[in-house]
């Protein structure tokens, strides 16, 4: 079996390669800048950053005869490419998967369904796959791939301007410790009360959707959940987060989860290893104090 793994994000590319590694031989397409190493592919196609989905997908269709399956990282670009290829070929697409096995020519996959409330395990004749972001821990593979250019086709989309969201860009997916705040934080100003803890544990700050999206207390790229980042740190500390299923879907793969919430019936207490029922503003300073000892 031979796979072509595609992404416009180096980490998604590595996660997708990690999923495929050992199950199929694979080549990779990277749409972006900079040197790519550690993906373990035999051939690496590089494409200029910002190339529209149709130009890349039509290029892939040209070389598709060499491959049995296409695996894309589930970024906006990855989903567009995967959808387009599925539409042109008529292949079934298994999407947002976090587990993949092959037996008897069939693909066995797992993905979240009903907004994260269930996991669907399916067996299908899928030949197109998108890999859920952040669920698989990306491994580094030794390889010296042969580098080639992908035949790029004309696009119907004109790109006028690209604006980076914020320089540096947080990589929650790679964080070892995450301190995540929910609506219980109350205001943007209150985030400074949590920062001493973030510093003390050398963690990254993250938030639930209301905090990142609705109120903008944190930037969008710090949102954890179904429609945000899927993270898998060693330690996830949830402060004033109720633990709705859409949030859990993003942090379920954390190794250890600590929750602090003043409502003892909050669903987060069903999804944590250690919990304290109480006020974050009273408890967090005490934890920081103890950590300094």
């Amino acid at each position: 079996m031979k796979a072509l793994v595609v992404s416009d994000d180096i980490n998604f590319l590595k996660q997708a390669c990690t999923l495929v590694n050992g199950k199929a031989e694979y080549d990779a397409v990277y749409v972006g800048e900079g040197r790519v190493s550690g993906v373990g592919a035999s051939t690496l196609y590089t494409v200029k950053k910002g190339t529209p989905y149709d130009a890349v997908a039509d290029g892939i269709l040209e070389i598709m005869g060499n491959y049995d399956i296409i695996v894309a990282g589930s970024t906006e670009f990855g989903r567009e490419v995967a959808g387009y290829i599925a539409g042109k070929t008529g292949y079934y697409a298994a999407t947002e998967i976090f587990s993949l096995e092959f037996s008897n020519g069939k693909a066995k996959t797992k993905r979240f369904f009903y907004g994260g409330k269930t996991v669907i395990e399916e067996e299908s004749d899928a030949k197109v796959f998108t890999v859920a972001p952040g669920v698989i821990e990306a491994k580094e593979f030794e390889s010296k791939p042969e580098e080639k250019d992908l035949p790029i086709k004309p696009s119907k989309v004109r790109v006028n301007k690209v604006v980076p969201k914020n320089a540096g860009g947080v990589r929650l997916e790679d964080a070892k410790i995450i301190v995540s705040v929910g609506r219980g934080i109350g205001s943007k100003e209150n985030i400074s009360k949590i920062e001493p803890l973030v510093n003390a544990v050398k963690g990254e700050l993250a938030g639930s959707r209301p905090v990142c999206m609705d109120y903008g207390w944190l930037s969008e790229d710090r949102q954890v959940g179904l429609s945000g980042k899927k993270v898998s740190p060693k330690l996830y500390i949830a402060l004033g987060i109720s633990g709705q299923i859409q949030h859990i879907a993003g942090m379920r793969n954390s190794k250890t989860v600590i929750a602090i919430n003043k409502d003892k019936n909050a669903p987060i207490f069903q999804e944590c290893d250690y919990g304290i029922v109480g006020d974050i503003f009273a408890i967090v300073p005490k934890i920081v104090e103890e950590l300094k000892k």
Binding site: A82, Y114, T118, V162
Partner: protein, 245 residues
Amino acid sequence: MVNVIVLIKQIIDIDQMKTDSEGKPILSGIPYRVENLSKNAIEAAVQLKEKNGGKVTGIIFGTEASTAAMKEAYAMGVDEGIIITGYKGSNPIVTAKAITSILKNLQYDIVVLGDQSADSYTGMLPGLLSAMTGFPLLGNANSITINGRSVRITQVGEAENAEIEADMPAIVSVTQEINQPRLPPVLQIMAAGRKPIRMEKYDGSFSNVNVISNLAPKSERKKKIFEKVDEGIPEIVKVIKEEMR
């Protein structure tokens, strides 16, 4: 004047859905509703009409029971509606085929849809439709403007936003942040109930997909909850120190 098509998905109200002791979803008695991003898509389509003049046609691939969703769309400002019956479950390629079978007989400038739906989250439909119609996709828009014969959007990406455009007809998928869907006034809701809906049938075969299981994920968390703060803090500090090593 623009001729806008909006694709609407009807889903079960997943917030109300629970799973039983074996982890199986309990679906009986759960009401249907218009899917979250579909509401943003309807709002975006109606705003395009309000700004540029024209007409909005709603399409639902669903069942006979989808009339309630279409009436909601009418109340929000959708002018005409087509329900394609024959939906048997989430399978984007079947949905794309059902929708293109209707689209090919319609005149339109823009097709608006949600970028990913709240239940299955496949995010495949925008790309599928682009491939099947041959029209460009402007994906994950948080703003749409029409300029003569071209459509321009701001595309929200993971690391950056892009200003992109294409000639019409085009397919535009929208984010949840593009707008705040309107709550229609009572009079409009009542009027919507009397508006006719065109019914079509799609008899599509499903690809070879076999659902092995669909269960709530098991939580193997320790769930050591401290109601006494003073007992909890030392324990949690110990765990943090352990994980920091």
